[in-house]
Amino acid sequence: MPELYLRLLNRILTPVLLLLSLYLLFRGHNLPGGGFIAGLMAAAAFQLQILSRGHDSLRRTVGPYLNSGIGLGLAVAVCSGIVGLLDGTFFKGVWFSLDLPLLGYLKIGTPVIFDLGVFLVVVSVATSYLLGLSRVADANVEPGRRADS
């Protein structure tokens, strides 16, 4: 059984980390941040989950979709480059303005879509590493002393 404080911390920190990662993702166009850092931040939330609750639950819920996440991220990133062809050059930045009823005026461009793809790739790759490493770590601990059983 992991320590109580770790589980408590997990409850508070996981949403904070995920929200922070989204914040970093969307400010990344002009300020420090972007898909890579945001992806690592989100993976840190998953790592916290592994530490506090063990990797089994995460492996069941997120594990099967990690490869798909890598694929989706790569596809999104390439497609954001293809959109640039509308303006004549591969990967040229293209911005669309949307007037949404609730959110108001929204300007969305291909750089942020590219970053979204990077985010997906990074979070999926990093989480699958972490899950793999936690399995290796588990195998090295004697059965009686498993941290999460």
Binding site: N67, S68, A75, V78, G93
Partner: protein
Amino acid sequence: MAVSANLLAVPVAAPLLTAALILLFARWGGRTLIRHQIALTALALCINLAAAALLFRAAAGQGQRFVLQLGAWSAPFGITVYGDGLSATLLLMTALVALAVYPFAVATIDYHRARMGFHPLYLFLLMGVNGAFLAGDLFNLYVFFEVLLMASFVLLTVGAQPAQTNSGIRYVVLNLLASTVFLVAAGIAYGTLGTLNFAQIAERLPLASPAVRTVFAGLLLVGFGSKAAIFPLFFWLPASYHTPPPAVTALFGGLLTKVGVYTLFRSFTLFFPELLQDWQPVLLTIASATMLVGALGALAQPGIRRVLSFHIISHVGFMLMGLAVALSGNNLAFGFGLGAAIIYLCHHMIIKTALIMAGGAVELHMGSDRLASIGGLVSRQPFLAFLFFTAAISLAGVPPFSGFVSKLSLLQITLDTRHWVVSGVSVFASLLTMMNMMRLWRESFWGDYSRPSRVPSRILQSSVRQRLMLTPVAVLVLLSLALGIWGEPAFRLSMQVAQQALDRQAYIEAVSPSAQTSTLPAGLFTVPAETVSTILSKEN
């Protein structure tokens, strides 16, 4: 039809997007899923071939240069993707090899490896190789080197046999060392010249001190040279090529070292053509040693695939020899050596892939590729024997195949420049090649039929599989024959490609990196050329 520079994105984007789609849906479905993956991969390979062929026609045939500034950010700031005849030739050959090996891979790769992601990895490797041929700056070249290194490392180890893991680790460590050397070279370029863009390096390097040029060139020679498997730096190749499934060896044998050869061609012709003269003795010595060691080492190998993969090293020596005499020539046209090296490169990619596939078919049939224990296959598999024989004599340089044209032209230029020793060595290495091939042929096809494995042959079980394996070999052998018969037009084309690659001024103008830099405040983004030369002259 006018070809847009955006076409340069296709050889990278098409494999990447397809691999991404395969990964995206890899979770759902069983055996039918693999079938969809195969169809998608084949489609991507065909698109890649079509794009490469279009580029080749425009760049090599009509002498155009394509420059794609990604995102329309101009040269030293954005990412430059550059395609000329040399890149297009290699793209076309790569596309052909990748498409030819694929049916063989489909026939021979087992379900387990396919589930582990063989098909997307195949595409990632193709993407890395294509990207390296198209990169217009050192950093992206490095990135694509890493992409192809990682993809090839996983392809080498997927299946996780102990021998595979062992060779995979040696492969990846030695290649990472080479990448590090290359990265140091890139750091030196950035630190002294203030740029990574090929065109801008070519523009500023003449202003740099000779010390910088020597160190930069030396590091690039070591880094690219070990990717190409030149003489003292080839150890990763024989340590690893014989362990993965034959389809993977065929793909590696056709593609990987050629990326190193291409980067050697590109960097020496664009950055420091004068060193081709100054360093000629060194380059020729390395080339001779590579030719000899590759051919002699292959003689000592016990298995078909080991012989064939060791022998790749010898061919790299021939290409390096062509590069070393690229700018010399007394009676022959300018760039004759490079033209000969390019046609040799094409010949090698075609026929080496065919041979490794044929050797792999022998191995799968016999259940082993140890020459001492197999034999007599000619009575059971006459068509395979025929294909192997024709490919082998083409490799050895017998007319009317492509080996003859390419070896003859290389010999012509070395004799013309009066490098008697090197031309002697190359003839001797060709004889050793002939010996190697005859040894393979005698041990595996002649004599009494002996098959060491008790497990029934996988080839014989299905005629579809057999056709999938042997058709690409036959197509490649026919291509080699065509390249030999139409040797003169092919050689003329490769001379055009070589002369285009040797025209540095046109490369610089096509990318035109300094047009943008001159309007910027001095010292803000890059060091202007005058500053570089003053700094460097102070250092002296």
